[in-house]
Symmetry: C2
Subunit: 252 residues, 2 copies
Amino acid sequence: MTQRKIISFENIRVACRSCSLNALCLPMGLSSDDIEKLENVIKRSRPLQRGEHLFYSGEHFHSLFVVKTGSVKTYTPSTEGGEQVLGFHLPGELIGLDAINQNFHSCSARVLETSAICEIPFQRLEELASNLPSLQHQLYRLLSKEIVEEAEMLMLLGKRSAEERLAAFLVSLSQRLGKRGLSTTDFHLSMSRHEIGNYLGLAVETVSRLFSRFQDENFLSVDRKHVKILSMPGLETLAGITPDQPSWRESN
Amino acid sequence: MTQRKIISFENIRVACRSCSLNALCLPMGLSSDDIEKLENVIKRSRPLQRGEHLFYSGEHFHSLFVVKTGSVKTYTPSTEGGEQVLGFHLPGELIGLDAINQNFHSCSARVLETSAICEIPFQRLEELASNLPSLQHQLYRLLSKEIVEEAEMLMLLGKRSAEERLAAFLVSLSQRLGKRGLSTTDFHLSMSRHEIGNYLGLAVETVSRLFSRFQDENFLSVDRKHVKILSMPGLETLAGITPDQPSWRESN
DNA sequence: CGTACTATTGAGCGCTCTCAAAACCAGTGG
DNA sequence: CCACTGGTTTTGAGAGCGCTCAATAGTACG
């Protein structure tokens, strides 16, 4: 059982405009004045170290979080130490939307590597949104987007084979990194094989075997946690990507 | 391939105040004046027959829908007639939140039995919410709730056995019917075994076998589509329900 | 009463899990 | 530098759950 470290957010200013703003308002046009107001709401924190938590399941909800750099995993702790990984969150992605419902967090969020995180007090965001219809709409969209993405995940877990799941996972990672201007073919897995398996509903051994197989078949080269994709089309085929209706995959 | 029937909503008044309102604003206090405004936004439609669609995947988004009576299934049509069932929606439940993201529906919604449905034009709802902070907050909560429920489904599909999935499905149906004052132990399955299996990530045959087994073990009695639960505690045990943190399961 | 669909039941197979062991890696302290 | 330790990853062998294929039975509807 990992020890419970409570992190405190000092309101430190870091050279990071637009980190959270990307997630919140890039797709629509807010006036520069409005963006100024929004920026004043966002808090920056010191860098967090691997293993630290943004919040724990059951804790009172006060803020959303945006990953600036690094990565975060969200999970629901279950009985006797077991857990269900709900997602991995890369730079630019928003965390904590599940907590609005009951005003406390329904999952825990744990930092996977040294990460910079922005905090957005939800109440202030909500107040701001009251006066900015476009921001209000953007919030609805972000929540809705989360629903769509989870629905895609339901499809993955319900119908796809182990091979398709891991391939789809890697393609997804690649695309999301690409959105932030990072390499789509060459990246570091900040999560363990165990966590990948947990997330995809597979045993660790299955994940490991698949990595080996993908490498044998020259779809990628993997060294420990470093992955280099050699054939993206090949991976996409394995993932069972159907080129139809790709439109709503490239949102925000 | 089912034929595409376009339904038209006439603005028929039916003796149904509070059907959609339950879903939208029961948990919080709106003034009666505000509720009046909200009610004027809601359209009632003629009853829909089994097989009719509320909307199709890809269609332009204009309204949310609330089930008044009957039931609706949402699903994403995939290549060559296959489909992934995303959910079954019972009276009082809201449909269409996934469409806010990209302004068109990312799934289709099909009526499973003769049903009464209320339509809520989203743009008007959004405008109204701009002026009613409590309604605005309630909308955030509804979206968030959907996220939490899908996360629970992810857990079910990722970690649970076939037996646990079907048991959890029946317990969930029972609880949701109970919220509307309907019998929690004696109900009609409006969906086919095939659709249940699709939803739970199981083959039809597996679902059928499990129904037989549950009956043999006296947890329930099933006749075609009619289910009578004989031992709710038994079912809950099968479902792997852990009595811890039940708090955020009984939301709205 | 025939047709089409849905549900049930059986038999066999395959994918993925479980169990087990070895290899590898990171950190610690001698 | 190296041995020691705990954790992670890899690889192998076997078993079981749930799928597939197939046949029968039951139900709805014209």
